[in-house]
């Protein structure tokens, strides 16, 4: 059912992005993309690919977990794509889904093609989390991509946390991402649970909304730190469920998405009330996000 990613060895992620100040010089906000070449392409599922990109000239500063790049398809356009991992010292992984003209062009990119990259932009996930915390990572659909760096951070610092649980929801078994890596995560001491909305015959795993996996996951709400990413409705339900179980809203982080044209707080498109998603997000905590996400058409 799942394909072993042929590029897995070369895509071996480095240690979690260093929390030390990035070596690369800080760049003034710019609208000029840097050329990055596709060195590997892995199809996660029919409409989703992970591209490995390495800089041809200048390298953008090292992204922190949760940050995104503005990725440019020559002559077509640019879209915000989360960084899903790192390759070697300069390479970046971006996992994207073909839903429009630009992402279809990016989805079709092959090794050797050159794309444009600007970034990294936005707030990242709050890692490292406090020592002895229980990490709960809730991913829906392609939301697993921006959470992948958190998973690798936890793998690299497993001893720091009391427990690490990853709950993954997808439309169907064929739509699961990074399936070739689950065994590695489990071997590293991470509790990985998967559920799908609809199953095919032969699926022996869970079927149901991702929130149905929460049973027994939160044993000590005071030490739980949660990260969730996926469709907005799914994030809100997950966050509310966790909050109902006693997890403080400030300890629940969400990754927002809004229309972006510049990524550098100059174009005004990505506003959610007071929040500029490219600058004050995409990661915000549920305490701040709940009153904003609950207003229709905000």
């Amino acid at each position: 059912m799942t394909t072993v990613p042929s590029m897995a060895p070369s895509m071996a992620p480095s240690m979690a992005p260093s929390m030390a100040p990035s070596m690369a010089p800080s760049m003034a906000p710019s609208m000029v993309p840097q050329p990055y070449q596709v060195t590997a392409r892995h199809e996660e599922c029919p409409d989703t690919v992970t591209l490995a990109l390495v800089p041809l000239r200048e390298q953008i500063p090292t992204p922190r977990p949760g940050q995104f790049s503005m990725v440019y398809a020559f002559g077509v356009g640019e879209v915000p794509i989360s960084v899903s991992g790192r390759v070697g010292t300069t390479g970046l992984l971006h996992t994207l889904r073909a839903v429009g003209a630009v992402t279809r062009a990016l989805h079709a990119a092959r090794p050797g093609d050159v794309l444009g990259l600007r970034g990294p932009f936005g707030t990242g996930w709050a890692v490292p989390a406090p020592e002895r915390a229980d990490l709960v990572i809730v991913a829906g659909g392609i939301g697993l991509a921006p959470l992948r760096p958190v998973i690798y951070h936890a793998l690299g610092e497993r001893g720091r946390y009391r427990s690490v649980t990853v709950l993954i929801g997808a439309r169907s078994p064929a739509d699961l991402l990074f399936t070739g890596e689950y065994a590695r995560w489990t071997a590293g001491g991470i509790d990985v649970r998967v559920t799908v909305d609809r199953a095919h015959s032969g699926w022996t795993g869970h079927v149901g909304l991702v929130t149905t996996l929460f049973t027994g996951v939160v044993t000590d709400p005071g030490r739980t730190v949660a990260f969730t990413c996926g469709p907005e409705v799914m994030m809100r339900l997950s966050a509310r469920d966790l909050a109902d179980r006693g997890v403080p809203p400030t300890a629940i982080q969400l990754s927002l998405e809004r229309n972006m044209r510049c990524g550098i707080a100059l174009c005004g498109h990505c506003q959610l009330g007071p929040v500029l998603v490219c600058r004050d997000g995409p990661v915000i905590d549920y305490d701040r996000g709940e009153p904003l996400l609950s207003v229709r058409e905000l």
Binding site: P35, F74, G116, I264, H269
Partner: protein, 362 residues
């Protein structure tokens, strides 16, 4: 030490001789617009305007004042934050990116009203980090004109400003018009302003002239045409996101976006990516956009704000409310352009007042 200028002709001439392109108000097509001036005689001497919600009419005056008009359809943002800006071109081979090389034109803005001066400062805060905007801004010389005749649609005083020009200008003028004569009290506010003023023919202003000028500006503060409610608008608008008033104004608003075009602080842009037929060259340009545009908030197959109600609320709550959260101040300077140029005659001050009066939802 205020100087009295009997004419602005030497000022315009000196600026042009110094390599500046002088931009100022002039009459064209039934309105007072901003355009490049060849000489001071291009200024709208003897013209004023009569504004109402949804109305703007040119009127002639009894005196020869050149700056006694307000709420024109243009603002200085067309020069500092142009409607269309090429960003770069790129050649596929080698991915060679080329940015436009030219230095920005050196503009001298003649006749910046205090509200517009504040608007420029507001945009400085939003766009200042952009290299291109910062270069244009640094190259500009600002000659402000204090306001002595506010209009029915003006409300700068309640928007945190006033008829007296604040900081940011190089030179500040106050117009003294009586019968057929018009003269200007001039004060320098920067080294560039000092140099400019020193090169112009003029004499020290008399105490009487100074008093007349100060008095006219002070009196203007009390003659505003309307006002915003005196309340914490940022906090108020957070509480009123589900107010019934939004439904009411949505029935009148056409989402035409005129307000965003004439507003001197509205800054939203979008990008246009283009490519040559041969696929070897591509480019990107930035152009003005409006939150009233149906696709502005497009996400995953549809707009987050498909209704006019949602879009009008976004515009007003941003301008008067969340601008504080994002940029540390209000986005509105009280110039009143949005009121005059709204085809439906929607008045932002009236809407804010109605929202303040409506009981908070339980």
């Amino acid at each position: 030490m205020p100087v009295l200028l009997e004419s602005l002709e030497p000022l315009v001439h000196t600026l042009r001789a110094g390599g500046y392109r002088v931009v100022g108000p002039t009459v064209s097509d039934g309105a007072v617009i901003l355009a490049e001036l060849g000489s001071a005689s291009d200024l709208p001497y003897g013209w004023t305007v009569r504004t109402t919600p949804g109305g703007y009419r040119l009127r002639s005056r009894a005196d020869r004042a050149a700056f006694a008009h307000h709420a024109g359809p243009h603002s200085w943002k067309a020069y500092l934050h142009p409607p269309r800006v090429p960003l770069w071109t790129v050649r596929r081979e080698g991915f060679v990116v080329t940015e436009p090389d030219e230095d920005p034109p050196r503009y001298a803005f003649l006749g910046v009203r205090p509200c517009d001066l504040r608007a420029i400062a507001v945009q400085d805060r939003v766009l200042g980090a952009s290299g291109a905007y910062a270069r244009r801004r640094a190259a500009a010389l600002l000659v402000a004109v204090n306001c002595t005749e506010p209009g029915p649609t003006c409300f700068c005083a309640s928007a945190g400003g006033g008829p007296q020009a604040g900081t940011g200008a190089d030179l500040v003028l106050t117009e003294l018009a009586a019968d057929n004569r018009v003269s200007y009290l001039a004060e320098a506010c920067s080294p560039a302003g000092d140099r400019l003023l020193a090169s112009l023919p003029g004499r020290p202003a008399s105490a009487g002239e100074i008093e007349r000028a100060r008095g006219a500006v002070a009196a203007a503060a009390g003659r505003m045409g309307r006002s915003l409610p005196a309340t914490d608008l940022r906090a108020l608008l957070v509480e009123r996101l589900d107010a019934a008033r939004w439904d009411e104004v949505a029935e009148r608003c056409l989402a035409c976006g005129n307000c965003t075009m004439v507003c001197p602080t509205c800054f939203c842009t979008t990008v246009e990516d283009t490519s040559d037929l041969d696929g070897e060259h591509a480019g990107r340009a930035q152009r003005w956009d409006s939150c009233f545009d149906a696709d502005f908030s497009y996400l995953h197959g549809g707009a987050v704000r498909p209704s006019i109600r949602g879009r009008y609320r976004q515009w007003l709550t941003h301008k008067l409310g969340t601008w504080h959260d994002q940029f540390g101040e209000s986005g509105c300077v009280g110039c009143g352009r949005c009121i005059a140029w709204c085809p439906a005659g929607i008045d932002l001050t009236e809407e804010a007042t109605a929202l303040a009066r409506e009981e908070a939802a339980p």
